[in-house]
């Protein structure tokens, strides 16, 4: 049933999206804007398409306009979240994508990896962290407003695994974008990171249910090990998100209101502490 309040979400979301397009066009130029917003739309659409048709955990019946059962406004929501996360990350860290682009010109592979670890990776983590925050707000609001719902779930707050998968979606899209936008960083290790992380994500959300017990054991080893093989800083962040978003939920199986409070605290507080007490002071402007 279409939500009587759907206009409350659809028109402001479209308006906010166009504000961001204007911001990108005016401050970052045509190449960035086209790559980010067209690429983001394609990415978001493909993701939603697979979730609607193959995972079938979302019911978008509250929204009227759909393309192949995917509401375009949900796709705009993804780009909205990633882009604002990027803007705020740049502010907190004290450098922009355009400055990184200039810095990357005429550098060797070793310097490129230093920039990747010291600037691009912190930006990536900033987007991921912000994506988790927005997920909690907008998804929890949406399920209460009947804009959409999770099939088989009737709680008031979005669950931690959903926030965890949102966070990882932010990581995958932003990594793809960085590898496309910054041509110089397309080194084997960085590309391999994207491929391995995406494969882990797909296994985690789509293949998991088809595995036998031995397969599940191997799967958990991959989930725990793959992301920590590449970069130390990313490994720290990933382990924090994995614990709060996935592992603890498997321990606290029944989501009573008290459990829910604990789950949200464990998801957000360590990330907040990591982000503001380590990442920003270490990589941000104060370090320069």
């Amino acid at each position: 049933m279409i939500s009587i309040f759907q206009e409350l979400f659809v028109y402001p979301a479209m308006g906010a999206f166009f504000l961001l397009v204007i911001h990108a066009w005016k401050t970052r130029g045509r190449r960035f804007t086209l790559l980010y917003f067209l690429g983001g739309f394609a990415f978001g659409f493909i993701r939603e398409f697979f979730y609607v048709h193959y995972k079938q955990n979302y019911d978008y019946s509250g929204l009227a306009i759909k393309i192949f059962d995917v509401p375009p406004v949900a796709v705009l929501g993804w780009i909205f979240t990633f882009y604002i996360g990027l803007c705020f990350g740049e502010r907190l860290l004290g450098f922009t994508c355009q400055e990184i682009l200039t810095e990357l010109q005429s550098t060797n592979d070793e310097q490129i990896q230093i920039i990747w670890k010291g600037k691009i990776l912190p930006l990536l983590i900033s987007v991921a962290f912000f994506t988790g925050l927005v997920c909690f707000a907008i998804e929890s609001c949406a399920i209460n407003m009947d804009w959409w719902r999770f099939i088989g779930y009737s709680g008031e707050f979005v669950t931690n695994p959903v926030q965890y998968m949102w966070t990882q979606t932010g990581i995958i899209f932003t990594t793809i974008f960085f590898l496309v936008y910054f041509k110089e960083v397309r080194l084997r290790k960085n590309v391999l990171f994207l491929v391995a992380f995406t494969a882990k994500y797909i296994a985690e959300d789509f293949l998991y249910r088809y595995l036998d017990p031995v397969g599940i054991a191997i799967f958990w080893i991959l989930v725990l090990v793959i992301p920590i093989l590449f970069y130390e800083e990313f490994a720290i962040y990933y382990m924090i998100v994995l614990f709060g978003g996935r592992l603890l939920v498997n321990i606290l199986l029944i989501e009573t209101p008290w459990d829910m409070l604990i789950l949200k605290i464990v998801f957000f507080v360590p990330q907040m502490i990591y982000f503001f007490a380590r990442l920003i002071p270490y990589f941000g402007i104060k370090k320069k």
Binding site: A13, L19, A137, N144, M145, K264, M272
Partner: protein, 52 residues
């Protein structure tokens, strides 16, 4: 670049926050709005504090 353009992401996130507050207030769940916006508000508060 004008100052207004540089603040467009702030306006966009503010729009989203207002939408959530109004929406949940319409179904008499303003209490829920406080809870779901709390982590985001903490983040934005620290962002504002750090950047002055």
């Amino acid at each position: 670049m004008s100052k207004f353009i540089s603040h467009l992401p702030d306006i966009a996130i503010l729009m989203m926050i207002i939408v959530i507050i109004i929406s949940l207030a319409l179904i008499q769940r303003a209490d829920l709005a406080v809870l779901v916006l709390l982590p985001l508000a903490v983040y934005l508060g620290i962002l504002w504090f750090k950047k002055g």
